[in-house]
Each structure stands twice: as structure tokens, then as C-alpha cells.
């Protein structure tokens, strides 16, 4: 084999490897991205309420080990001392406790209102309304020591602009179920 043949041979081998590498990139790039981003994607999913599970009006849904039911959603119109154009909204839930390990299952419990555009409101501390003694919030319920079969009455208070009161829907997310969250439908839906 002359030197020229050898050079030609190498050249052909290189071409072959170049082609192989190009094909390998098609696999390697997604693979690398998947391997590198795995932990971050996992964190993204377990930390955020991303995918909704719709619950029809009047029905209850099993979520975070318990059965959740929306009992009421109403505006408290006519209150004074509030910024113009705003209205407090009360969301009431009846939750039948299944698995009593609420401190783990309900960790990071978040109740919110979501409007038609997907905007989200969290409970407010600006409005204080009197409530019966047996009404708790999601967070206080975690430490209530509720047992299996107990029914918890949860109430969260929100402050929203008047123009969204028709489209808002209550939603619930808990740590053990993320990225899924419950989106409760209203009677008219």
C-alpha cells in the first residue's frame, strides 16, 4: 500500500466517522439534555401546580389522601374600607379526611382562584371576616390532628377585581399531588 492509498483510506474513514457522528448527534443531544435536565425537570414538576384536574360541580375528588368537595363560592359585596372595584370572595370546602398524615400529604397546601385568562389569586390577609369556630384554613387544618373520617370545613378568603367574579374558579394544590391540582367547576359550567 502506497502512502497515497493510505491517505485516501484515512480520508474515507474520516468521512465515515463524520457521517456516523452526525447521526449520533441526533441521539446524543436529546440524551444529554435529558440526563442533565432530569433533576431540574423533576423539581419543576413537584414544586408547581401545572396540570388541572377538573371536578364537576357538586362532586368530590380524592386528592392528597382525602376527599375534597367545593361547598360554596360567593362574593361578600357591600363591605366598606376596601379599594374601589374590588370584592372579597369566600371559597368553602368540605374535606373528608382519608389518610390522616396531613403534615406530609398536604405540605405546601395552596388554595387559589383562577380566572378565564389563567390569572391566579392567593388568599388575602387584607380582609378579615367573622367565621364560625369550626372553620379552618388549609394550613391550619394540617396541624388540627384530624383523624380518618373527620369532615373538615375549610374556608379561604380572597380579594379580586369585581370584573372577574363571573369567571373565577377555585383550585387546590398540595405537595403530594403536584404537578396536578384540582380545579372545581361551578354549577353553570
Amino acid at each position: 500500500m502506497t502512502a497515497q492509498d493510505l491517505a485516501q483510506d484515512n480520508r474515507l474513514g474520516e468521512k465515515k466517522w463524520r457521517r456516523r457522528s452526525l447521526w449520533a448527534l441526533l441521539v446524543l443531544i436529546p440524551l444529554t439534555l435529558a440526563v442533565e435536565a432530569y433533576d431540574s425537570v423533576k423539581a419543576l414538576l413537584v414544586d408547581n401546580d401545572l396540570f388541572e384536574r377538573r371536578v364537576a360541580w357538586g362532586e368530590s375528588a380524592h386528592f392528597g389522601g382525602s376527599d375534597w368537595k367545593l361547598t360554596d363560592l360567593r362574593g361578600a359585596f357591600g363591605m366598606k374600607n376596601l379599594p374601589p372595584g374590588t370584592v372579597p370572595v369566600l371559597a368553602d370546602f368540605a374535606v373528608t379526611v382519608g389518610n390522616p398524615d396531613l403534615q406530609n400529604l398536604w405540605l405546601g397546601c395552596k388554595v387559589m382562584l383562577i380566572d378565564a385568562e389563567g390569572r391566579r389569586w392567593l388568599p388575602t390577609s387584607a380582609v378579615r371576616l367573622n367565621a364560625p369556630d369550626n372553620v379552618q384554613t388549609c394550613i391550619s387544618a394540617i396541624f388540627s390532628g384530624a383523624k380518618t373520617g373527620d369532615v373538615l370545613n375549610l374556608r379561604e378568603t380572597f380579594l379580586v377585581p369585581k370584573d372577574v367574579t363571573n369567571t373565577i374558579r377555585p383550585a387546590v394544590g398540595v405537595g403530594s399531588e403536584r404537578p396536578y391540582f384540582l380545579l372545581f367547576q361551578m354549577e353553570k359550567d
Binding site: N81, P83, T86, R119, R120, V160
Partner: protein, 197 residues
């Protein structure tokens, strides 16, 4: 001659490298906040909240209520009081940090001397569609007042989140070195949004 040329080249290369070393962004820059710039009166739209600076006032003293008793806060510099209006964009959020960056890039954090007041000051909870007024209070040196920038972000170390950077513009200085229009005492006992508590 050749040696001289080499020496000149070496010096040029050293200067170039010094420039590269100094201007290369480091980790803190790469993951730092992303600025959204504006000026007084503009609605500056960030990722999680929007903010508009209504007015900037300067004072030698502040008067505030502390558990029913009136307290007067003095300062060795000057109080800068920025009245802002916030609104959340997609979701309820909390705006918790602000700082005042002077013309020489000296940066003053939001004062903590007013932390006993829990309404109308940072941290402010803001909701979508609901405007909310608040006061940002900084204790700064008088010469750091003109051409300053107010930086507002939702949290400290807002990595790769937006940070509103609102330029205050020039402020004339009066004869005693204080910014023009500095009042003796500003009253913080009245709520910023005009609503009774």
C-alpha cells in the same frame, strides 16, 4: 527595531487581556436579575409584577406611628421616599426588596427602621388586576440622590427574574447640599392608599 515592535505587541496583548478579564461576566452576572428599565411615571412591566413610580420626596425626618405612639426618625443623610403603585401580572405575588443605586453605583438597601409598620411598606402582597400603593423608604447620602436608580424585585437574589430599574433623573441640590425640595418632616402616619386602616 524588531524587539521594540514585539514589546509594543506584548503591551497591546496585555492591555487586551486586562480588558477581557475585567469585562468578562462572572457567575453572579450570568444568573443575576434581568433588568427592565423605565423612568418616573412609566409603568414598568416585569415578569411577575408591574410598578409605576408616582413621586419621589426627600425629607430630613420621618414621622411614623409605632403601636399608637408617634415616633420621629432622624438621619445623618437624607430620607428618600418613593411612592409606587404595584400590580401583579399572572398570579398573586410578593414584592419584597428594593434598593437605591446612586450615580456612583453605591447601592443602599431599603431601610429596616420602619419594619414595625406592616401595611404600605415592603414586603407588599400584590394581586392581579388590583393596584396597590406602597412607599419605599431609603436612607441615603445627599450626593447619591441625583441620577439615581430605584431597583425593585420580588425577592433578594432574584436569579434570572426581572428587576425593575427606574431612573429618578437629575435632582437639583440646594445650597446646603440637600436635594432641592427637601422637607423637614414627612408624615407616614396617613395610609398611602387613602383608605382607613
Amino acid at each position: 527595531m524588531r524587539r521594540l515592535a514585539n514589546l509594543v505587541l506584548l503591551l497591546v496583548a496585555v492591555a487586551l487581556c486586562y480588558g477581557l478579564q475585567m469585562s468578562k461576566p462572572h457567575y453572579a452576572d450570568l444568573i443575576g436579575p434581568i433588568p427592565v428599565r423605565g423612568k418616573v411615571g412609566d409603568v414598568v412591566v416585569g415578569r411577575s409584577f408591574e410598578v409605576r413610580v408616582e413621586k419621589v420626596q426627600f425629607a430630613r425626618k420621618l414621622r411614623a406611628d409605632r403601636y399608637g405612639e408617634t415616633k420621629v426618625l432622624t438621619t445623618g443623610g437624607v430620607w428618600a421616599l418613593v411612592t409606587v403603585e404595584f400590580a401583579a401580572r399572572d398570579a398573586s405575588t410578593v414584592v419584597s426588596t428594593a434598593s437605591w443605586r446612586g450615580p456612583t453605583r453605591l447601592t443602599y438597601d431599603h431601610t429596616e427602621r420602619l419594619s414595625f409598620i406592616n401595611n404600605g411598606f415592603l414586603p407588599v402582597t400584590v394581586d392581579p388586576g388590583l393596584q396597590k400603593k406602597a412607599r419605599l423608604v431609603f436612607e441615603v447620602r445627599p450626593e447619591e440622590v441625583g441620577n439615581a436608580t430605584v431597583l425593585i424585585s420580588s425577592k433578594l437574589l432574584a436569579a434570572l427574574d426581572s428587576q425593575a430599574e427606574i431612573s429618578i433623573g437629575p435632582v437639583a441640590a440646594s445650597s446646603d447640599g440637600m436635594p432641592a425640595g427637601t422637607v423637614d418632616t414627612l408624615d407616614l402616619t396617613q395610609p398611602v392608599d387613602g383608605l382607613p386602616k
